[in-house]
């Protein structure tokens, strides 16, 4: 518990960034990152659930009996997932149509249960908030990077989330359609993992 709040926050951005360092939460990581917009949208939805669930579980950590803690965590997480789903349907319907089944699937995203079990149920509210935000933003950035890589290579253009689309490749570029299909997700993830492992890790 000697870690400072800043450390709790920044560990999620590099040292324990979920898809690349912990290699957790791969289902949405591979499934939705066909474009930058999808990746960021999914990341933000997950961040919201993660932060809210972390806060509530941390606040209730002395009330929840340890024998049924997993069931309690799931109830809390599932509630916030449905909140996200409903809000997204009401205010960002096109994004909801694109992310489809992956939004309800946040319930079974192991990052959420992992943070609840490993961190929020043992730490105070403030550090749980920092932890949730850090991991969530790290997850969003990872999905964003993966999404833009696949979108640029696969279509030759990039769409700024909730904004306009720009062609970034020269006109002679032949879109590499493989990158936006499912196997391309594995290749892109593998390349990024390799790159990150090249960087010195203490």
């Amino acid at each position: 518990m000697a870690k400072t709040l800043t450390q709790e926050f920044t560990k999620g951005l590099w040292k324990e960034v979920p898809p690349f360092r912990l290699v957790l939460g791969l289902c949405p990581t591979l499934g939705v990152t066909t474009t930058l917009e999808n990746g960021v949208g999914m990341g933000l939805a997950t961040t919201f659930v993660l932060v809210c669930a972390n806060l509530l579980i941390s606040a209730l950590r002395n009330v929840i009996p340890s024998k049924v803690r997993i069931a309690c965590f799931i109830v809390v997480i599932a509630t916030f997932v449905i909140v996200v789903e409903q809000v997204m349907q009401a205010f960002a319907y096109p994004l909801f149509l694109k992310l489809g089944v992956f939004i309800p699937l946040i319930v079974v995203n192991c990052i959420l249960l992992g943070r609840a079990e490993a961190f929020a149920s043992k730490n105070g509210i403030v550090s749980s908030l920092a932890d949730g935000l850090g991991i969530g933003i790290g997850f969003t950035l990872s999905l964003g990077v993966l999404g833009s890589l696949r979108e640029i290579l696969g279509t030759g253009a990039i769409t700024i989330p909730f904004g306009a689309s720009y062609a970034v490749m020269p006109a002679a570029f032949e879109p590499f359609g493989f990158m936006v299909s499912a196997p391309g997700a594995f290749v892109a993830l593998g390349l990024l993992l390799a790159l990150m492992n090249l960087a010195p890790s203490k």
Partner: protein, 197 residues
């Protein structure tokens, strides 16, 4: 024993709170979600159906209670007359319910056009019910006063090859729409007129 009671109480409380919150949210956001579905799911289908209409059919709509359920009817104005009315009906396909928007020409009692709104059919096979214009065109000008069948069942509607179950589902939805139209024709025509005035 005390542990047991605590476990039951905590889980029950948590679930109750969760249920309450979600029910409230559903209540609060329901109309907004309905509106979004209208714009993004039914909107494009309606626009394709009502090509060349003189009004904006997505905005000119009325609601009727059909079989205990509220159904939206969309009115298209042609040559100054509110002659075409579209509404949604459901039939069961290969992967669940198929929603079909059926536009009926009320002056001739025939189908003006159809468009699939929601489905969960096999991509590339059943999903062509939504994307293949030739399939939808097969329903044009059919009478709404009789019920229809696909060709493999001895009827007159061309089925999608490799997707007979989906085609049957769409036909079933159209037949249901015919039933709704026949049962409520007077009301529908009256409401459409009132809306266009």
């Amino acid at each position: 024993m005390r542990d047991m009671i605590k476990m039951v109480v905590v889980i029950t409380l948590l679930s109750t709170l969760s249920g309450g919150l979600l029910a409230y949210l559903q209540e609060a956001l329901g109309p907004q979600i309905e509106q979004q579905k209208l714009v993004f799911v039914k909107g494009p289908v309606l626009e394709a159906l009502f090509e060349g209409a003189e009004n904006k059919p997505v905005d000119s709509r009325f609601k009727l209670t059909v079989d205990g359920e509220e159904t939206s009817f969309f009115v298209g104005v042609y040559d100054g007359q509110p002659s075409v009315v579209a509404f949604e009906a459901y039939g069961s396909g290969f992967g669940g319910n198929i929603g079909v928007m059926v536009a009926v020409d009320t002056t001739k009692d025939e189908i003006y056009g159809i468009g699939v709104t929601t489905h969960s059919e096999t991509p590339g096979l059943g999903s062509r019910a939504k994307t293949d214009p030739a399939f939808a065109a097969g329903f044009r000008h059919l009478s709404v006063l009789e019920s229809h069948k696909v060709k493999p069942d001895g009827g007159g509607v061309d089925a999608l090859s490799g997707a007979t179950v989906t085609s049957r589902g769409v036909v079933a939805a159209v037949n249901k729409a015919d039933e709704i139209y026949k049962a409520h024709k007077d009301e529908i025509v009256q409401q459409a007129k009132a809306l266009a005035l």
